[in-house]
Symmetry: C2
Subunit: 197 residues, 2 copies
């Protein structure tokens, strides 16, 4: 009974992750009630993003040129490289404002069960970037879960023999957290990786 263009919009919105049929309907109603310019702006932004945004030829983050802003920025430190699983992880690292080196985005993690091996990730391209004498340290910032740890181990075995310093982001109790509510694995890791003050 609802008009066909509305059904189509709801169906397309419902394909987004975390957006079910009901949320898609609510969003579509919002779009209809908003000034029509909003739908036009969003429509335009969608088209431009797929036309113009692509992966950086060096680090595989996003760019609308050949190389991304992180790779082109002369103020960033070439000697230190942070390897992340995905784009959202890169953004999270960047938000800390603690890291001023370069990035490399793997676009996934090793996951034999899902058929993801080293060839499906940007590992060959990572090795090609590591010219001797330029990069000194590689920070492996994959997620602290089973696949992320396995990927970190795999990268360490590849990179150490190349004479690089390979480091892993620290694992322990999160800031502002409560020991009482920390899970066993996290607290065990926090104990074994304790630091002298």
């Amino acid at each position: 009974m609802t008009p066909e263009p509305l059904n189509r919009l709801i169906a397309q919105l419902a394909r987004l992750p975390g957006i079910g049929e009901k949320t898609a309907q609510r969003l579509a109603f919002y779009i209809l009630r908003a000034p029509p310019q909003y739908a036009r702006d969003l429509s335009q932004a969608l088209q431009e993003v797929v036309e113009k945004v692509r992966l950086c030829a060096r680090c595989f983050s996003l760019t609308d040129q050949e190389l991304c802003g992180f790779c082109l920025d002369a103020r960033r430190d070439d000697r230190i490289l942070c390897v992340v699983e995905g784009l959202a992880d890169l953004m999270a690292v960047e938000r800390t404002r603690e890291f001023k080196g370069r990035y490399h985005v793997l676009h996934g993690v090793l996951s034999p069960l899902e058929g993801v091996g080293p060839d499906q990730l940007r590992i060959k391209e990572l090795l090609a970037r590591l010219e001797p004498g330029r990069v000194e340290e590689v920070i492996v910032a994959t997620n602290p879960d089973v696949e992320g740890e396995a990927t970190a181990l795999y990268l360490t075995r590849l990179l150490k023999p190349m004479g690089l310093k390979v480091t892993r982001i620290a694992q322990g109790v999160p800031m502002g957290g409560d020991l009482e509510y920390a899970d066993q694995a996290t607290l065990a890791r926090a104990l074994s990786a304790r630091r002298e003050l």
Copy 2:
């Protein structure tokens, strides 16, 4: 550091209700990873919805013609009219498959605090539809909250003198609910509106 077209898409997505900056970023990354046809389809759907979908000239639900499917459907009962606040409420009533009459969408509720009076709602248009002898019953299905109740009362005072049967959707404990967890107001209403078996 992120490419401008991506920032624009994130900003547009973050204007949607219930979508914050982080969710907008996650959706934008999903759109970029999906086959480009998806972004084009969604873009197209957005444009079409604002170009083609408008309010039905009779009941003010949505349509891409002059009148909507509910108003045009000859199998629906002209003698009974269901008045709802908004489009999502109409959909909710329709999903029950219990109602086969016509609809009227007010597009809001009376709310003096927010400056919404009878003239801001589709009440004049409702009165104009109620030709004597055609409609017999008006079901007032506004929400069971303060504004919805006030609107129901207002409509009752307008419609009763016109010789119409005005009814209100029942209020009580929800199906599958638990008396222990029902709020006082709901349980009090369920008691006072008890039915003989």
